[in-house]
């Protein structure tokens, strides 16, 4: 409706300014927004493209100026060469173990705590919840030094597997998060009480109610928390940098950073390694794109 009325009005106004775009729009066989979006997208994608191109060049071509934009031969051997000089498969496995364990423990522990904060009346609930919320505001840099000392102590005196230089050190401190508890509590509070109450009347335990009735209703929130926790864990760098020094316990970002430090001028190997560490994440990301996008959008909209 607006499309038909606008040109007529512009015609009446006859100021030319309104007529021109209308005419141009008719002449272009495509939306003029492509003229903006296509170059912008090419710029956004160029770093990815250059990464892949370099990973397939010979060292001589990579260290050539002007740069060789289209390699003459594709040197796929860069990939096995990179794998031979650092255990990227191992880094990947470590990252996966840490991310999956962190996601699972967050789902369990934050569901339990979030549900209790949402539904139970117990002594100290309000105060405890307020304290947990307060920790949300504190940046990691404030807690990282004591966290390092505690982790070191735990490894020596309690359980080696959660100490410095073990994967457990990357899982345990993030096994439950204030954000996860807050996020699930907020969601649980929006659920109707009736189902839970009638199940309780029928004699179901609180845990059974949570598992059988509440969690199935909370699948979208659980998926969102899982996606965000996974991304956080997968990309985490500062804590692994502090907690891990031995190569076979490194996660992908740390392994990649260490590899970069050791092979600074071997750009082809470095890029091949970078592609290999990126591809799994890109695959997961695009496989579950809708979840990731919705999760990020959800935190944004929740924040507003």
């Amino acid at each position: 409706m607006t499309a038909t009325s606008a040109p007529a009005r512009d015609g009446v106004r006859s100021d030319g300014r309104g007529v021109l775009p209308a005419r141009r729009r008719r002449r272009l066989p495509f939306s003029p927004w492509h003229l903006v979006l296509l170059p912008a997208t090419l710029v956004l994608l160029f770093p990815f493209a250059w990464l892949v191109i370099t990973s397939l060049e010979t060292p001589a071509e990579a260290l050539h100026f002007p740069p060789v934009l289209t390699p003459h031969v594709l040197r796929f051997a860069n990939y096995p060469d990179a794998l031979a000089s650092a255990p990227f498969g191992h880094f990947f496995l470590n990252s996966a173990i840490v991310a999956v364990a962190t996601v699972l423990s967050n789902l369990v522990l934050c569901s339990l705590a979030g549900y209790a904060f949402a539904r139970f009346r117990f002594l100290g609930r309000t105060a405890l919840f307020a304290v947990i919320m307060a920790t949300l505001m504190v940046p990691f840099q404030v807690t990282m030094i004591p966290q390092f000392i505690i982790t070191k102590w735990l490894g020596v005196h309690v359980l080696a597997a959660v100490g410095i230089n073990h994967l457990g050190a990357l899982i345990l401190p993030n096994a439950a998060t204030a954000f996860g508890i807050f996020f699930l509590r907020q969601f649980f509070r929006t659920l109707p009480l009736e189902y839970e109450e009638s199940a309780r009347v029928d004699g179901a335990s609180r845990l059974t109610v949570l598992i059988r009735i509440v969690l199935p209703l909370a699948t979208p929130a659980l998926a969102t928390l899982a996606a965000l926790t996974f991304l956080d864990s997968w990309n985490n760098f500062l804590w692994p940098l502090i907690a891990i020094t031995s190569t076979n316990q490194m996660t992908l970002p740390l392994g990649l950073a260490t590899f970069q430090g050791a092979h600074q001028t071997e750009w082809t190997l470095l890029m091949a390694a970078n592609v290999m560490s990126l591809v799994p994440m890109l695959a997961i990301f695009f496989g579950a794109q809708r979840y990731f996008i919705r999760s990020v959008a959800a935190t944004g909209l929740a924040g507003t």
Binding site: L69, L112, F117, F122, L123, T135, Q141, F237, F292, T304
Partner: protein
């Protein structure tokens, strides 16, 4: 029955809360105490030294530089990311051909880790073999030193992080744009408002909650910049890219000055709180909530 609810409540929260207490709450208090101690791991005792660590900060020229770099970085990165995100989201908020491709390209930057991102950009901006210097030669600009130059390095880091956060900003703005009721925009068009006026008077105010969220979120992240600096410049050249968290990390885990590093951490915390409060105060005046 009442007793059982107390018991159940504590039974449910204890596992999660224990972890947060051990790795979240206790460290907050501990590092506050440490910031008043001389604690450098090499000496066995950790005596309280009052405000000595904080006084040392005031006289530390590198801290002053680090604050300056952190603020410059934040002042460029946050508006830059928001402007680019808003522009792309508005352009992508329509049903045209290839739109899924355009959106996916923007989202892809979200899947790349800070480490991968930094490595790619170090290579793109390599002074000797980098493709950016090659593009510069097309338009007659002489080769630049980029990350090796004290006057340019911080700006290259601004560019790489803006690129890395583009997808995030686009997602937030697209979600907010899609929440704007279509009749509102049509009504504005019928009333004779052009596209630019509609954008300024209707779209932008309706996006203001998303803008406030992004401003706060990006600022908090910007002031904690570390990964890219660690990887690309290690704070150099000549401390030109030493930001607060990088200096803090060096003090803590290279020099093992836990006391001094804790003081810097608390200072950073304070700055983040102050800036966030200001943003909410100022933002509230310009933020329009529909509900």
């Amino acid at each position: 029955m009442i007793g059982s609810e107390h018991l159940a409540g504590w039974a449910f929260v204890t596992p999660g809360v224990a972890i947060i207490a051990l790795f979240g709450m206790a460290p907050i208090i501990w590092s506050a105490l440490m910031s008043f101690q001389r604690n450098n791991l090499l000496s066995p005792s950790t005596p309280f030294t009052g405000l000595a660590n904080y006084r040392q900060m005031v006289h530390d020229p590198i801290v002053a530089q680090a604050i300056q770099h952190t603020l410059i970085y934040t002042a460029l990165f946050v508006p830059g990311t928001m402007a680019l995100g808003l522009f792309l989201a508005v352009a992508m908020n329509r049903k045209i051909r290839f739109i899924a491709f355009y959106r996916t390209a923007a989202y892809a930057t979200m899947a790349i880790s800070t480490i991968s991102e930094a490595i790619v950009f170090i290579w793109l901006f390599d002074p000797s073999y980098g493709v950016v210097n090659y593009f510069f030669s097309w338009i007659g600009v002489p080769p630049q030193q980029f990350l090796n130059s004290p006057s340019q390095a911080l700006y290259v880091i601004v560019l790489m992080t803006i690129w890395g956060w583009t997808g995030f900003a686009v997602v937030i703005y697209l979600a907010a744009l899609q929440g704007i009721p279509q009749p509102l925009l049509e009504a504005a068009a019928i009333d004779g408002a052009g596209p630019w006026r509609t954008f300024r008077r209707i779209t932008l105010p309706l996006l203001s909650p998303a803008s406030l969220f992004l401003a706060v979120w990006l600022t908090i992240n910007a002031m904690q910049l570390f990964d890219e600096v660690y990887l690309s410049t290690q704070g150099g050249p000549l401390n030109a890219t030493t930001v607060l968290v990088y200096y803090l990390y060096n003090q803590a885990f290279q020099d093992f000055n836990f006391g001094y590093a804790s003081a810097i951490a608390y200072f950073l915390f304070l700055v983040i709180i102050v800036v966030t409060v200001i943003q909410f105060r100022v933002g509230r005046r310009y933020t329009y909530y529909r509900s």
